[in-house]
């Protein structure tokens, strides 16, 4: 019987297989950041172990770096200590690092792909659950905990139990105005936050094939929000075109050899998935969350659901609790919900195409007086590319703040926070209680919806806006 893409990548990395034991898998790329690594490096130090392959390891500072005054020492002493610990660890163990101020610094999941380090068929790990982003290249990429970070640093391998496979088929072309973010929010609402547990998801179908690499990254990024450790998309010409010529992509004869191999990385016609979920693309529309987990979403054109709509008791009590936390009443049209803060950025939607899409909506318009809008590029490269295109001027003319690269308000470990009780429309990936700051209320949206919401002051899509100049 044929194999799925994920199984092919897995099989190509088995270092050791023994009965009743997990497979020992080789890791091609280990990305490291300041939050989940200090205790791992301490563990190595205590055991007197080196980093086995510093040349397959890359560190970047992203989770709690400031997005303004980055030329000054980090104001928060605890954040500063953590970032400094990463620098000391990287130097001591010989791990390359892109520090704050470096031209390559940025969010770990933006940096890897833009350098061309993330390639089809690789295994990629990072102590961050959004490592699933790299699956967009047909890589098997997943988040790990700090003990596993230490394990990979020491051995460049991980013992892993086999996973199940799930196909997510998005049939037909996406309707106009529907983005990758809307696709993945709908998928999560459909299968639930636990629906992907134990699975690797493979996104397939006409709508997925038509997506750009950056849009594919948005989709794969949020696989974890459906409970799946990894999500991937078979590499194709779009993938190869994106990679060709990038700094760390193969060149010359090696490029040809690589592409020949990458072309084999597709699910065989006779392979069987353990589960198949099919969604008709024609039924997709701009999608937003109303609750406190990413599965609690509805079309933007719909209303806040009622807990009574849920048959399962845990879902019902969860919905009741979410409505209370979010300060929402069942039956309220989503487009009537006023928003105080708009955040455009993160490893989900902080790439150049995301910023272009938001800028296109904001061009010639103004952010509502009641709204604070923050635009945070995913990396220094994204920031410079946006500035070269004049996007920063568009954002600033509209009244949005243009910041430096980092995770920022996605998880509010730096100074960028949503105030208690305030409501945000955010292009990030999690609407958990307090995620964007204590007491914050988050609605997950696409960059287009975020920008339109900033203008209207309530949740809105670009189609709801009056034409510029009208």
């Amino acid at each position: 019987m044929g194999r799925t893409l994920a199984e092919k990548v897995w099989d190509a990395h088995v270092v050791r297989r023994a009965e009743d034991e997990p497979d020992l898998l080789y890791i091609d790329l280990h990305l490291v950041h300041e939050v989940t690594s200090p205790q791992a490096f301490d563990g190595l130090r205590a055991a007197g172990r080196p980093v086995r392959r510093p040349d397959l390891t890359l560190a970047t500072e992203d989770h709690n770096v400031p997005t303004f005054d980055i030329d000054k020492p980090i104001a928060d002493p605890i954040s500063r200590a953590q970032v400094e610990a990463l620098r000391v660890n990287a130097a001591e163990f010989g791990v390359p690092i892109y520090s704050l101020g470096d031209a390559e610094q940025g969010i770990v999941h933006v940096v890897g792909p833009q350098l061309g380090l993330t390639q089809p068929g690789m295994t990629v790990v990072c102590g961050d659950s959004h490592t699933s982003t790299h699956g967009a290249f047909g890589a098997l990429a997943f988040g790990i905990g700090t003990s596993e970070v230490e394990h990979v640093l020491a051995t460049q391998t991980l013992p892993l139990k086999p996973f199940k496979t799930m196909a997510i088929e998005i049939d037909g072309p996406l309707p106009a105005g529907v983005t990758a973010k809307d696709v993945i929010l709908r998928v999560i609402a459909e299968i639930g936050t636990g629906g992907g547990q134990g699975y690797v998801l493979e996104y397939r179908g006409e709508a997925i094939r038509a997506l750009s690499m950056e849009a594919r990254m948005t989709v794969c990024n949020m696989s974890i929000e459906a409970g799946a450790r990894a999500g991937l998309i078979a590499p194709d010409q779009t993938t190869f075109d994106y990679l060709e010529g990038r700094d760390r992509a193969p060149q010359g004869e090696e490029w040809d050899a690589a592409v020949a191999y990458w072309r084999t990385l597709v699910t065989d016609d006779d392979a069987e998935f353990d589960t198949v979920v099919t969604i008709d693309a024609a039924t997709l529309s701009p999608f937003v969350t109303w609750g406190t987990n990413p599965g609690q979403g509805v079309p933007l054109s719909a209303s806040v659901p009622s807990p009574a709509d849920y048959a399962d008791e845990q879902d019902r009590t969860g919905a009741e609790r979410a409505l209370e936390y979010m300060g929402l009443t069942a039956g309220t049209p989503m487009k009537d919900i006023p928003v105080d803060t708009v955040f455009i950025g993160s490893c989900t939607n902080g790439r150049i195409e995301d910023l272009r899409a938001a800028a296109q909506v904001l061009d010639g318009r103004k952010v509502a007086d009641s709204v604070t809008a923050l635009v945070v590029p995913g990396s220094v490269r994204v920031r410079l590319a946006a500035e070269a295109e004049g996007l920063d001027k568009v954002f600033e003319a509209a009244g949005a703040q243009w910041r430096n690269a980092g995770c920022s308000m996605c998880l509010a470990m730096n100074a960028d926070k949503v105030a208690p009780g305030q409501r945000s429309a955010s292009t990030s990936n999690r609407n958990f209680e307090g995620r964007q700051g204590p007491g914050s209320r988050t609605h997950l949206v696409s960059p287009q919806v975020a920008a339109a919401t900033a203008v209207v002051g309530r949740l809105a899509s670009p189609a709801d806006l009056a034409p510029v100049g009208a």
Binding site: V15, D20, L24, Y26, D28, L29, T36, Q39, A47, R49, P54, D55, L56, L58, H63, I78, A81, A85, P96, Q119, M122, D128, S129, G143, I144, G145, T146, S147, E148, H151, T155, Q156, T157, P159, K161, T193, G194, Q197, I224, E225, G227, R229, R248, A249, E254, A257, A258, N293, Q314, D315, T317, G318, L411, A412, M413, R430, F432, E433, G434, R435
Partner: protein
Amino acid sequence: MDKFTVHTGRALPLRRSNVDTDQIIPAEYLKRITRHGFEDALFAAWRQDPTFVLNDPAYEGVSILVAGPDFGTGSSREHAVWALQDYGFRVVLSSRFADIFRGNSGKGGLLTAVVDQPVVEALWDRIDADPATEVTVDLEAREVRAGDLVAPFEVDDYIRWRLLEGLDDIGLTLQHEADITAFEASRPAFTPTTR
């Protein structure tokens, strides 16, 4: 890692589903660079509410957490495991755990035991009725017991073995270093490096 065979203790009924790792430990506590001392961070936002179950003096000294489905969703932060352990928890019982959280727990020696939701609810009711109820989690027998309630639980075989033996994963893997070296020699020349 300490060996885990049988644990008996009092339990905390956490009647919530989708308890994500941002609730178990909010991000602001992740800036610490040590591996211990996270007990104050556990459920930090929820503990500000005086009626939150963990603030009930009747549950002082609990060591078993009984939670709703989809416990530990979200971030990969292993700090969530450390916060639970630092507070004194040895076991979490739920009908469904998020994958990364479950893996992290196994590494750190926190037992995540999967029981059916009706068992969770039966335990909730018993503990609510009498917070002094003693619950026994027997990893050898894969069984949870509380009074006349006896229920099986699921745990990954390999994690169970490691917990029972108290084994360190890295040490186990390094026994196969020759296999790793041999694999490295076979990797294609086009795979990238970071420097």
